[in-house]
Symmetry: C2
Subunit: 249 residues, 2 copies
């Protein structure tokens, strides 16, 4: 069963979601990495005027979000669209239990998209152009949506922490100080556990793939570096932003 929203905050559930998203992210990155960088996929106008000013990647993402908006994806508090001009749901609202988050409009998808296109694609994909633009773009959509979900899940992590705050977090919340908040939510030992687990998973998945592949897939160190340098820091940035909103109410 989809847990009631109050259960969604239980640390065991939050942890389960985050751990399971590791596979979704690793699989998505591995799938993208089978194609070359394919720079035209990210260049607005590279395919003429037909894509309404978007790049191929942006076009595929926007059309996907339009469809998913119709079936109410973005009414769920753990989903965040990259585009704003989306159609209204055509399905009746789901009978969700109440949203456990405080009202907020935090959405850092524009940062995530820039990061992905400019930094992560060159990291995970071999340089060059194999003209498999559509296939690459379809993988990009999966990567972007998985990264966005993982990073914005910081809202649930933060709400969960704020309901049972440590002394340091209580103080930081009272002062509404971003640096103190960042320090209070940071648990280096837990972060290291995540990095170790991701490195182990990425190592296993890529080694199995490489056993039969003609060209090696993305290096596992790259996947754990993406976690270390971007996914975890951006997740924490969302946590801090959320806690600032929450403590300012």
């Amino acid at each position: 069963m989809l847990p009631a929203m109050s259960e969604q905050l239980q640390i065991a559930h939050v942890r389960h979601v985050l751990i399971r998203l590791e596979e979704t992210i690793i699989f998505a990155l591995i799938e993208r990495a089978q194609f070359l960088r394919n720079a035209p996929v990210y260049q607005p106008g590279a395919f003429g005027e037909a894509l309404e000013g978007e790049s191929l990647c942006g076009f595929l993402l926007r059309e996907c979000e339009r469809t998913h908006a119709k079936v109410r994806r973005y009414t769920s508090p753990d989903e965040h669209p990259f585009f704003t001009d989306l159609p209204a749901p055509i399905l009746p609202p789901l009978g969700f239990a109440e949203n456990p988050l405080v009202p907020n409009t935090i959405n850092i998808n524009s940062r995530i998209r820039t990061l992905y296109e400019e930094t992560l694609v060159p990291l995970i994909c071999a340089p060059g152009d194999d003209r498999q633009y559509g296939s690459a773009g379809v993988c990009d959509v999966a990567c972007l949506q998985a990264l966005s979900k993982r990073i914005h899940y910081g809202k649930f992590v933060a709400e969960s922490k704020a309901r049972q705050p440590s002394e340091a977090l209580r103080e930081a919340l009272a002062k509404r100080d971003p640096s103190l908040l960042m320090a209070a939510i940071t648990d280096t030992a837990v972060e290291q556990q995540v990095l170790d687990r991701v490195a182990a998973k990425a190592g296993t998945y890529t080694a199995e793939l490489n056993r039969n592949a003609t060209t090696p897939t993305v290096a596992p160190e790259v996947i754990s570096a993406i976690y270390r340098d971007w996914i975890i820091p951006l997740n924490k940035a969302v946590q801090v932003e959320y806690l600032l909103v929450r403590s300012g109410r």
Copy 2:
């Protein structure tokens, strides 16, 4: 580089594509298996009239195909849509080298969709309903597209064999006999290699996932059984259909 069409028929390339599709299929099945069966996803009308008579799965698939048709996915000879009323491409045609296949309209996606919804989903997913309909449906689209690609790749396999036919295949082609064709294209040793490799991959991927998961994912035996009982036989059925078209020209 995307190989020229003549290279697409080289047995090493065909083999590479088929092997790499194993990961795409296994990853897609594993992703779907994180959700319960969710029967309403496959019931036309379960979400009211808004989906134009389609089930949620069908709606997501059709909308996805509409988008992909616009960026000319189905102009590629290795892609086959599930729906027929798709929009024309809005991008100019790709400068593909010539299509190496003989003209044909073989498309068994309606069989694949029924098989997937009625047989494979109950095999890979635990029974029950977690109400994560949208997430499940998005995974369904990925599964269906991967299965369709793998199964219809039989056209390339068959064309490759027909260009360098064995004695048995030469005879079967001359007689245009489906049973002889099936016998001539069947290589039990190679099939066993595929099954062994898929079993090894599925074993590795699911074991890694289960190390940290709260509930076990799809059993690896199920994944190799799907290959044994459906993917390989349907791929061979496409090969025979294709060879009948090819030898009747």
